[in-house]
Symmetry: C2
Subunit: 110 residues, 2 copies
């Protein structure tokens, strides 16, 4: 099992996008409430609307979110594929680590 299957170059930007507290809160709100506008996201966000906008663009650049203009507001929704990629990456790491622990254990018992 090669570490190449984890594709760090692809998944690292996804983790980086999730690695900010404000941004992770936005992702959580979008996942819980469904698609919503920037103003609605800003309502209880503790930061400015422009900050929220920047975070949304970061998420979009990582493929995690997507926007559509609807009248005068822009509605943002989550994109599930990158989330799945991140999950697969973590699963791979855990699996490899478990395998290593097993090997070490049997080696010691040997």
């Amino acid at each position: 099992m090669s570490a190449r299957r984890l594709k760090p170059k692809i998944t690292a930007p996804i983790f980086a996008a999730l690695g900010d507290e404000t941004r992770l809160r936005i992702v959580a709100r979008l996942s819980a409430g469904g698609p919503m506008s920037i103003a609605h996201l800003t309502r209880d966000a503790s930061v400015t609307r422009q900050a929220v906008t920047k975070h949304l663009h970061v998420l979009a650049h990582a493929g995690l979110a997507r926007s559509a203009r609807l009248g005068r507001e822009s509605v943002w929704e989550l994109q599930p594929e990158p989330l799945d990629a991140a999950r697969r990456c973590l699963d791979g790491i855990s699996a490899q680590w478990d395998a290593v622990l097993d090997r070490l254990k049997t080696f010691v018992e040997d």
Copy 2:
């Protein structure tokens, strides 16, 4: 199902630690090869030993890795709990998002 269960304040630093390509490579190597020294990690790391050391300390600060001095070398190993926390966070987001999609679908069909 509340978004509070995702605990962004706790999990965001973990994602941030995984959000650097060099660091994610280190995690992948540790998970695939088991505990190893800094020099061994540096061998094919494309950056300096000091850079690797800094990254390891970042991982340690996020609870993802742990070191033990063994003679003149310091051996680093992965810590699985934060990885599991990150996985649970992603699972929660995906589950919430799926639930929202279901609600929207039945709403449209209604």
